[in-house]
Symmetry: C2
Subunit: 254 residues, 2 copies
DNA sequence: CGGTATGTTGATCTCAGTCAATCTGGGTGG
DNA sequence: CCACCCAGATTGACTGAGATCAACATACCG
């Protein structure tokens, strides 16, 4: 555990900002958090914690992407969330971690004892409301996932995922419209509730429709942002061709 | 708004308890909450608030079931959660409600100004941590929904729903194994991310398998609790019959 | 250079969405 | 009391989206 001793974080820029829920700590508060937490470095696949572990620390993502996942009986994995810079994760559920967390790509996190954070929340109402805001952010995100999984088809879910990551500055370059994908196709499948192959087919579909262009397996060019947004709200499934009954032709002239 | 004046709540029993996240307030804290909140009565279909409304109050369910839902572009509805006695809902998202809330059946709620609750959280660290616990409870529940929607088929999702409601004392009588269903089949479909008909078929399937018995459209007898739990963890889909290649028969005697 | 992990595409079959018809129970008016 | 209506529940037939199996391509290793 030597890497967990307090080290110079070496990260002095502003707290990473991304929509609501991130970038919520002021510089001084972020400093306070950094002072009592330790910086951790992770390589792809490294496990931050496992489901059921005693939950003693909360984490803040500084760089990279952390997979929050849970496995079901038959060995399938569902990725519940992908935590990006600015996100908080690892709050205890009855003293234990409810899910597993591991690095989807090289990543850095701040590790902060939960007891310590609770104390800070008691002492500083600001911290309290901002931690609550972070939790609420994760909660809203989970609800968005429910909407996606419950109402969208595979292409729409992929579009939603891409649009989510377009909002992460670390992974989208607005100049070139290039979006880095920090996860494998399998990861993406487990995240979207489909299998690897269906994810690939969804990519192919979006490319055929001219909405994206696959540059390589870990980056796509976003060609039509509005098109992706429109796709999201469309019907989950096209109406059947009503092949059997009378074809409902506008029995025109006759 | 006359019904929102402070009235005698008429509910003096212990705070309703259900697993983690409910029953978390002590008698005195619950009293404090009741003192500053007003009791509301709802009939089936009554709207507590609508998506986008200015969020000024938080709610606690005292009786009945509140649907938390959101609609998508093409008019489809996803029920994000069913809030039962003991649950909290209606936390603001950037000052507004992110979802709609309405009564799935006759219901009672406590209505508490969000400002007031924030103040109570500042003054009483106990309240703060317990509100956080309630939010975390909703968050864990949302994550369970993601698991269900992402990895389970229609029957398994229905089984998960039934098992969830078996844990609500108001709706399950352990003596008779009778489970009251406070929602219509359409509601259930919107909750499970399927359509009404698929929900009905899932009910029929569970009945054929001897796990439940449909008494009437709003109550089922739970015949095999363990069977329902086993079903949850099984594979999402049976393997195909591999009809074409060699039938993989254990070329027995010959 | 073989070996392994990952990405991609094709063929096939199942689950669940869609349309449609029927059944049921609860009200309402005559 | 009954005929009627209407909303909800149920069942059947058909079909498309996506899971599964399989094969092959590509990249990344030691």
């Amino acid at each position: 555990m030597n890497q967990w001793s307090n080290v110079d974080v070496g990260y002095v820029g502003p707290w990473p900002s991304r929509e609501s829920g991130a970038g919520l700590f002021s510089a001084s508060e972020a400093d306070m958090i950094r002072r009592v937490s330790s910086l951790q470095h992770w390589r792809r696949g490294n496990i931050v914690y496992a489901e059921g572990d005693r939950a003693e620390c909360v984490f803040f993502v500084m760089a990279g992407v952390i997979r929050i996942s849970r496995c079901v009986g038959n060995g399938q994995r569902q990725i519940l969330a992908l935590r990006v810079p600015g996100d908080m994760f690892g709050l205890p559920d009855d003293g234990n971690y409810a899910n597993s967390a591991d690095a989807a790509c090289p990543a850095r996190t701040l590790r902060l004892p939960w007891q310590r954070l609770q104390q800070m929340m008691r002492d500083e109402p600001q911290i309290q409301s901002k931690v609550l805001a972070k939790v609420m952010h994760n909660f809203r995100q989970a609800q968005a996932r429910i909407m996606s999984l419950g109402q969208q088809n595979a292409c729409q879910r992929l579009a939603s995922f891409l649009l989510d990551f377009v909002r992460v500055p670390d992974y989208f370059d607005a100049e070139t419209s290039l979006l880095q994908l920090p996860v494998s196709r399998s990861d993406l499948g487990d995240y979207l509730g489909t299998v690897r192959q269906s994810t690939v087919r969804a990519f192919a579909q979006l490319e055929i429709q001219g909405l994206i262009r696959r540059v390589d397996s870990h980056s796509v060019e976003i060609l039509d942002l509005c098109g992706l947004e429109l796709l999201q709200t469309g019907p989950r499934r096209c109406a059947p061709q009503q092949g059997h009954g009378q074809p409902l032709q506008e029995s025109c002239v006759h």
